[in-house]
């Protein structure tokens, strides 16, 4: 909302400078986003009247004019403008004036300090004591074809800048949705008056006394959507341009001037906050105006010549035959005021905010009017506004009322009295406010206040403040008007108690630490992906993707089912910026839909590409791949103390089609699948233009966090030495290492402490379909040192049982 200072001053005698006004408004909830300072491009120019025009004795194209500049006297001026004529009112630059406007077309006005003052000059032998100015010379327009014609009633001798309100300060104020009342000059003036302890001077507006004449009947058929409708017929209208001061104010407030009638309706809306509409009275058929729902009406052509589709609940203003306007949103092409209009019907109504909001949003038609209706206008302001507009139209368009205001209000507004317990104000604000101050503050915003008890006030909120409904609302008014800086700072007094820490958060922190320690950098990606991403990278859950109903774009139309595409995107982004390696992880939410119900889950995912460990100069680096990411996962599981619950197994490729089928594994926790790991499928690597191996994993973080970790049993280290025996087996090539280890352990030799694989060999000396697996077995007794004989006996027995189970032979 734009507020010109000169307009504000019509309603409140404020002398504070604009910065102070801006600060006080901002701190009180009316944030001034900008202060526009408009300055004229001239000084020393007044309103003058050309009294006579004579031919210059020595030049055909020049005239000699006598100019009346009011209290400054009369002057003889040489003028070259072809449009100069006696009686004309025009800008007159006295000797000493400065003109910063452009001399040539397209030039910008210059700073007045750089302009030499105008001097009296001899022009072709005649002395000229000043100058009549064109629009361009004053920096007001590009027009230099003649002198600027002013209104014929402009007061002579008035400073032109003042007359045209060029020296103006305009506040640009952000109005929060609860303060519809401040979408008006008067509303803002009320705030300024309340904040500075000044008096608000409201214009005295009375409906004129006219005898009953011709006026359409007004029928409200949708009283739930239209609470009040006032109409006023006027005749004898002459449509013309509005005077400069009115046009200027509209323009300062960001509206375009159109014609005197429309401009007046807009002016009154800006002044009082009540949107008005003017219909061409002669185009209203059947002698009545009906406020009704659209019902079966399907289409309507608005005044911008667009056909609009209607819904049955849209509120229309119609006549006996057809719709005239979409209530509160836009008028119709057929009933609009035109250049030939002589009779109008002014409309001033209260429409329910929600109906206007719905219709305006659906049609994408946001006007200054709908904006105000949506936020709630003054429930009682209709007749005042229509009378104010009528007075201006009488003055500016030569019209007159044809009949008194027709004011239809099916049900009078409720008088809302708030029972204010004064202790509530102190309890909320944390500071005691004296009763007299509470009273004074509430009265300053237009409330009616009366005492109802020792600690109580009855407060009737003004009709333009629908946001004031209960004690908390009034406490806010008192608090913000006196300033929140008056509220002290206090820290809560709480008993010393241990704060419960969310175990899930602690688990995230622990996981993050391990990942960082393993050399992975944390990244954050946005949860929106393209459908293609979800198709290529199905998540662990297998549910269908969640589709956003109103996405920003197709590329961002689904919620991710997996963190992997995000990680790959970031890898590509960095490779494009000359990175050669990236090792990163993300802990974030993924989303999926089961039987059409969207739900969310948490994932831990990582990507590792390029050199993983860079050794010293000369030694080969260790590149990222399946085993480096597996190593990270193993370190992570060890850090969680669940490593012995974890198994890695072959993967169903449909589960992770983006992984290399021969270099991918499923991660299981206590037998349950909790994630996948592997290298990127060469096809995907091609797509992302990756030249090196790319290791990936994704874990169901929620399942990990929820896993009931068995309590750790801590044992003292053994006191007696272990004995190692190695065993080299030759067995079928596709028997996994885990099966070999599992088989050995399953024998349950009591002396066997551990078994590990230390070499796998294929090639020379081994049949092509076989491999040699070298195992190291450790035997130990808890209470004594084992003898060689005991170990040999146990080892031979174990080998004897393992060989047939694995279909293996001893390697020679």
């Amino acid at each position: 909302m734009k507020l010109p200072l000169s307009w504000l001053k019509e309603f409140v005698q404020i002398t504070a400078d604009p910065d102070e006004i801006s600060h006080r408004l901002s701190v009180a909830g009316l944030e001034v986003e900008n202060i526009e300072r408009h300055r004229p491009a001239f000084a020393g120019v007044t309103v003058g009247r050309v009294l006579s025009v004579e031919r210059h004795p020595n030049a055909d194209r020049l005239s000699l004019c006598e100019v009346d500049a009011g209290q400054f006297g009369r002057f003889r001026v040489v003028c070259g403008a072809p449009n100069v004529r006696p009686g004309m009112v025009a800008p007159f630059a006295r000797v000493g004036a400065r003109l910063g406007g452009a001399r040539k077309s397209g030039e910008a006005p210059v700073s007045l300090d750089e302009v030499a003052p105008l001097q009296a000059a001899e022009i072709r032998g005649v002395r000229s004591e000043g100058m009549l100015c064109s629009g361009r010379e004053l920096g007001l327009s590009e027009d230099h074809s003649g002198i600027l014609a002013l209104e014929s009633d402009a007061p002579l001798g008035t400073d032109l800048a003042q007359y045209l309100e060029l020296d103006e300060t305009v506040f640009d104020i952000a109005i929060t949705p609860n303060r519809g009342d401040c979408l008006s000059t008067v509303g803002l003036a009320r705030e300024v008056a309340a904040l500075f302890g000044l008096k608000l001077k409201l214009p005295k507006i009375k409906p004129p006394a006219v005898s009953d004449g011709e006026c359409p009947d007004i029928e409200i058929h949708a009283a739930d959507l239209c609470r009040r409708y006032a109409g006023l017929p006027m005749g004898g209208i002459r449509i013309a341009n509005s005077p400069a001061w009115l046009r200027r104010r509209l323009e300062l407030c960001g509206m375009r001037a159109l014609n005197n009638v429309v401009d007046v309706t807009n002016y009154v809306m800006l002044e009082l906050g009540q949107p008005l509409h003017a219909f061409d009275l002669d185009k209203i058929q059947g002698g009545k105006v009906v406020v009704r729902r659209a019902g079966d009406e399907r289409r309507f052509v608005t005044l911008d010549n667009q056909e609009r589709e209607l819904r049955p609940d849209d509120l229309l203003i119609a006549d006996a035959v057809r719709p005239l306007a979409i209530a509160g949103v836009m008028g119709g092409l057929d009933s609009e005021v035109s250049d030939t209009t002589t009779r109008i019907l002014l409309e001033s109504a209260y429409f329910e905010p929600m109906t206007i909001a719905r219709t305006a949003r659906r049609l994408g038609l946001r006007s200054e009017a709908s904006y105000r209706f949506e936020r709630g206008i003054d429930r009682q302001g209709q007749v005042t506004a229509i009378s104010r507009a009528a007075a201006l139209i009488r003055q500016l368009a030569g019209g007159h009322e044809l009949a008194p205001v027709r004011d239809v209000e099916p049900e009078a507004a409720l008088r809302r009295e708030i029972d204010l317990d004064l202790r509530r104000v102190g309890a909320l604000l944390g500071v005691d406010v004296p009763r007299a101050e509470i009273r004074r503050r509430l009265i300053s915003i237009g409330a009616a206040v009366h005492t109802t008890g020792k600690e109580r006030l009855g407060v009737i909120a003004p009709s333009f403040r629908p946001d004031l409904n209960e004690a908390a609302d009034l406490a806010e008014e008192v608090g913000r008007l006196r300033g929140f800086e008056e509220v002290p700072e206090r820290l809560p007094q709480r008993p010393a108690q241990i704060i419960t820490r969310d175990p899930a958060r602690a688990f995230v922190a622990r996981t993050r630490d391990t990942m960082l320690g393993c050399g992975l950098t944390e990244i954050r990606t946005i949860a929106f992906v393209a459908p293609e991403d979800n198709r290529r990278f199905p998540g662990l859950d297998g549910g269908s993707p969640v589709v956003v109903t109103n996405p920003l774009s197709t590329e961002l139309s689904q919620l991710r089912t997996s963190l992997i595409p995000g990680l790959l995107g970031v890898l590509r982004f960095n490779l494009n910026r000359q990175a050669t390696a990236m090792h990163a992880f993300e802990i974030a939410k993924v989303f999926h839909s089961t039987s059409d119900t969207p739900s969310e889950g948490q994932r831990l995912a990582a990507i590792s590409y390029g050199d993983f460990i860079v050794t010293s100069v000369g030694a080969p680096p260790i590149a990222a791949g399946f085993f480096t990411v597996k190593g990270i996962l193993e370190a992570y599981f060890v850090s969680l103390g669940i490593f012995d619950q974890i198994t890695f197994a072959g993967i169903d490729t449909a589960r992770a089609p983006y992984l290399h089928p021969g270099m991918a594994a499923e991660v299981r926790l206590a037998g349950k699948m909790i994630g996948v790991l592997g290298e990127l499928h060469p096809q995907e690597a091609l797509r992302f233009e990756l030249s090196r191996n790319c290791g990936l994993f994704e874990l169901d973080f929620g399942a990990l966090a929820d896993y009931r970790h068995p309590p750790r049993a801590i044992e003292a280290p053994p006191r007696f030495p272990a004995v190692r025996r190695d065993l080299a087996l030759v067995l079928d090539r596709d028997v996994p290492a885990a099966t070999v280890i599992g088989t050995v352990k399953n024998v349950q030799e009591p002396l066997l402490e551990s078994v590990e694989i230390f070499d796998v060999y294929t090639g020379e000396g081994i049949a092509p379909d076989k491999k040699s697996v070298a195992l190291s077995l450790r035997y130990r007794h808890k209470e004594r040192t084992l003898t060689d004989e005991e170990v040999n006996r146990a080892h031979e027995a174990l080998v004897g049982r393992v060989l047939p189970l694995l279909n293996a032979t001893m390697r020679q």
């Binding site: 949705p177 909320l428 500071v431 406490a475 996405p551 919620l559 939410k589």
Partner: protein
């Protein structure tokens, strides 16, 4: 016998000169002290020595043995020292070459700033609770006193999902969930991601993160003064003790009174600069006393309970704290940016 022993000693000692090689030393040790060595042989032949001479001879043998052993030990030690010195003279690294790099990851700047913020609130007795991103209209809007079709809803352009659900536009839904589950007194923060229909730009992101916080107790216990106290303390903790804090009246549907909170500009300290648009202040969070309608929506009696709530954007705070001016930096994950943290 004695002469024989002295001869062995003299010969051996002569062979164990300062320049004796490791091989010569070993030869002497084997020849004299070894199993088949001369001294061993003499000891074996002791039976032939007259009984009265035996102790003296035995003593002499032991004496020679100790002497030779200690001489050998001394020589070996000296040689080992010499070898080490030679090796030390050769083994020289260029210590300015880079080391074997075991990577160390960096946590994301948003994580670092969020954790610092959460830590400050935890230190003041707030409990952090995780809440959901996908929610319904009730928890994200209606219970927070946003009536249907109200223009306040347009301040938060919402992503809708099937099944009447939506992506939360703020973490304030956490307030509703926690209050529905629990009874006052409450001091809770809900950090998390939120979503609004904004294109990713210098200033905005369709996904961003916030920390919602609230404190509820009986009427008169937790007041606007406490809101000011807690938030000022938090902001001074985060931006430095000299930070000035200003509370400006504002509007949020879910608080009454509502206050926007500004801090003195982190860049210019209040003098005015580009960051603060020459006002000396920057907006940092929104807050207020919980609206009675919100308390009603979760079944609290507003005559009995009151409290304050606030919401602070993590990205915006991080931008101010880190002195960078582009939201996209957080979501692009340029390693050259991340590796500075």
């Amino acid at each position: 016998m004695r002469e024989q022993l002295e001869a062995i000693r003299n010969r051996a000692m002569a062979q164990l000169g300062d320049d004796a090689s490791a091989e010569q030393i070993e030869n002497v040790r084997v020849a004299v002290l070894g199993r088949g060595g001369e001294l061993t042989a003499i000891m074996r032949g002791m039976r032939e020595v007259p009984a009265e001479e035996r102790p003296a001879i035995g003593q002499l043998v032991n004496e020679i043995k100790r002497e030779l052993e200690s001489r050998i030990e001394a020589l070996q030690e000296r040689q080992q020292r010499a070898r080490m010195e030679r090796a030390l003279a050769e083994q020289r690294l260029d210590v300015t070459l880079p080391g074997t790099r075991i990577g160390r990851g960096r946590s994301h700047p948003l994580t670092q700033v969020a954790e610092e913020m959460i830590g400050l609130f935890e230190a003041m007795g707030f409990e952090a609770v995780a809440t959901q991103d996908i929610d319904d209209d009730f928890h994200n809007f209606s219970a927070l006193n946003f009536p249907p079709d109200h223009p306040a809803r347009e301040m938060q352009d919402t992503f809708f999902l099937p099944g009447g659900l939506l992506l939360r536009t703020h973490t304030s839904n956490g307030q509703i969930h926690v209050m529905q589950r629990r009874q006052p007194p409450l001091a809770v923060i809900c950090p998390g991601n939120c979503y609004r229909r904004d294109e990713l730009s210098v200033r905005a992101s369709p996904m961003f993160s916030q920390i919602e916080g609230f404190m509820v107790d009986r009427t008169g216990i937790v007041t606007m003064a406490h809101l000011k106290g807690v938030l000022s303390e938090f902001l001074r903790g985060l931006f430095g003790a000299a930070t000035r804090v200003r509370f400006r009246a504002s509007f949020f549907p879910f608080t009454e009174p509502s206050a926007e909170v500004d801090i003195s500009c982190v860049l210019c300290g209040g003098g005015g600069c580009r960051v603060c648009k020459h006002s000396g202040w920057v907006e940092i969070l929104g807050s207020g006393m919980i609206h009675p309608n919100v308390l009603r929506a979760v079944g609290y009696d507003p005559a009995e309970y009151q409290g304050f709530a606030f919401g602070v954007g993590i990205e915006r705070t991080a931008l101010l704290k880190l002195g960078v001016d582009d939201m996209r930096l957080f979501f692009e994950n340029d390693l050259r940016f991340l590796e500075q943290f």
